[in-house]
């Protein structure tokens, strides 16, 4: 059952005040707050369960290993994957880098991304292109911020090897038609990576159905600790993707001359992993499952619609990416005011929004703006908070005009 009052009590930080006012946290696209269940899981881990994993024969190590591998199962299930295809990383950025450096593409290959990508899904590819004489191409956007899906076909040449796209735009909240894009790309034999950093927190995701080769996301945007993330790869890649990092825990045998690597996901997790992070992520997923991702999605949609409707009524406000198919993110500007001014005043009213380019500078230059004010919602936000945000925004506009 989705009971917002009970949910809010689960998040200790929500009782904090900012500038004497109750915190209204609308910067969930940057990172979400953590429920007590996650915080408790970390405390419990260090108080009762801490040991290094996959190494010791002693009881504690065995138990910690079981916890870690249970976490893998549950996180995999959450995105419709099998645990044999799920690698723990440090986050979305880490996952994309592992893939971009490990694909072993021929020099001169072309890679297609979109104009709305987060820098984390541009720079690793750009770096590869710089070093390997490759070429990075961008799927352009329509005026409303949606992708010009039909342009993908035109961009593909015999040298095109990869399509890397975001599932949901972190700046605009637009949900991209990834299935359609994957289908087109697959027909042309491309390798496809989906950046799920902003989809996993807001909607039901099934990686099998999406049909991509790789899918990445960050724990911290879905109520888990920072520093942990997921790289899912289609099982064909588990033995094929080149290792970017190597080290302890990934091997069968090591001699001075040669190493025989372990099979499966462990190859990709050298060194002691972020065990607490993984356990925290499992606790977060467990919490999300208990509430129900569909309920969360519906709730955030209600908030989005309520906010959009009211923002549309303010004549000074311009919303970017104001389309139908969106996750709980809304980006806007106040005419004649810099996003920094709006964000600064909203903060004084106790409302945390993000301002700036949101690590999507190419998108900002497409829209010809220096940045936006972005409100992004999570399960614990309320309609009343949206109303207070609108009130505060109106007062801010008055001060700025």
């Amino acid at each position: 059952m989705f009971d917002i009052n009970i949910i809010r009590k689960d998040f200790p930080i929500l009782s904090k005040t900012i500038n004497g006012k109750p915190l209204i946290y609308f910067d969930n696209g940057a990172t979400t707050q953590k429920p007590k269940a996650v915080i408790d899981a970390l405390v419990k881990y260090y108080s009762e369960q801490n040991a290094n994993i996959h190494r010791g024969v002693h009881t504690l190590s065995r138990e910690a290993t079981i916890l870690f591998e249970e976490a893998r199962k549950n996180v995999a299930k959450f995105i419709g994957a099998s645990e044999e295809e799920l690698i723990f990383t440090a986050g979305t950025t880490d996952g994309i880098n592992i893939v971009a450096s490990g694909l072993n593409l021929p020099g001169g290959s072309e890679i297609i991304v979109t104009e709305m990508e987060h820098h984390s899904n541009i720079l690793p590819w750009q770096l590869w292109c710089e070093r390997n004489n490759g070429k990075l191409k961008f799927i352009p956007l329509n005026k409303d911020g949606t992708l010009q899906v039909e342009k993908l076909n035109e961009l593909i040449t015999p040298n095109t090897k990869v399509l890397a796209i975001t599932h949901v735009s972190n700046t605009l909240g637009i949900i991209n038609p990834v299935k359609e894009l994957v289908k087109t790309a697959k027909e042309k034999g491309l390798i496809v990576l989906i950046d799920g950093a902003q989809s996993v927190p807001h909607m039901k995701v099934n990686v099998q159905e999406l049909g991509a080769d790789f899918f990445v996301f960050s724990g911290h945007k879905v109520y888990a600790p920072t520093g942990v993330g997921v790289l899912w790869m289609n099982k064909n890649w588990i033995s094929k993707l080149q290792l970017v990092k190597a080290g302890g825990g990934t091997i069968k045998t090591v001699s001075f001359e040669k190493t025989e690597y372990a099979d499966g996901t462990l190859r990709f997790e050298p060194g002691t992993p972020n065990i607490e992070g993984v356990i925290g992520l499992a606790a977060a997923i467990h919490y999300v499952n208990a509430i129900g991702i569909e309920s969360i999605s519906n709730h955030e949609h209600t908030l989005l619609e309520h906010a959009t409707k009211q923002l549309n009524e303010i004549k000074e406000v311009e919303i970017y990416g104001n389309t139908k198919n969106k996750a709980g993110v809304i980006s806007f500007n106040v005419k004649g005011a810099h996003p920094f001014d709006v964000g600064t005043l909203l903060d004084k009213y106790g409302i945390a929004v993000r301002t700036g380019h949101h690590c999507t500078q190419p998108l900002m230059s497409c829209l010809h703006i220096p940045g936006t004010v972005r409100a992004s919602f999570a399960m614990y936000n309320t309609l009343e908070e949206v109303d207070q945000f609108i009130e505060a925004l109106k007062k801010s506009i008055k001060m700025l005009s």
Binding site: A337, H338, F340, D341, L345, K348, G356, P370
Partner: protein
């Protein structure tokens, strides 16, 4: 007036707002609006202070041996902060500028603008003003002020 005296004047000016942040920010915005315009030709890429979410252009020159600043910003609150800095530092001697502590920002309750986030330009702005003062006073054609 000395830097310290101007700082005190600003502190007194902001005192009347007490805890009323809306009044304080309203005043800051007014100060931003009344900042004398920088010459358009000075709004060049190389005069932009890096590290600001909002753009700040700063031009520094020597007049009668004193350092004179003009500046602009595309964000009005930032411009208000810029106006305060110019009021305090412009027309002062390079040595005094370089050693200024500028703790008035803290005292008028705007210390959030000094936080070391990348979004915030005030720290970079102060650094740039000091660097410019130093560079100008060390340049070969610099003539120190004739009177104090």
């Amino acid at each position: 007036m000395t830097i310290k005296e101007i700082e005190q004047e600003i502190i007194d000016e902001f005192e009347i707002f007490g805890e009323d942040w809306e009044g304080k920010y309203g005043h800051l915005i007014d100060l931003g609006r009344s900042l004398p315009k920088i010459k358009e030709e000075y709004k060049t890429e190389n005069r932009i202070i890096k590290g600001c979410q909002s753009k700040v252009w700063l031009h520094s020159e020597v007049k009668d041996g004193k350092i004179v600043y003009t500046a602009d910003s595309d964000a009005i609150i930032t411009k208000g902060m810029v106006a305060l800095m110019i009021r305090v530092l412009s027309g002062q001697k390079a040595d005094d500028i370089v050693s200024a502590e500028l703790d008035f920002i803290n005292k008028i309750g705007l210390k959030e603008h000094l936080s070391p986030t990348r979004a915030n330009g005030l720290v970079s702005m102060i650094k740039q003003m000091k660097l410019d003062a130093l560079a100008l006073s060390r340049s070969t054609n610099y003539e120190p002020p004739t009177k104090n």
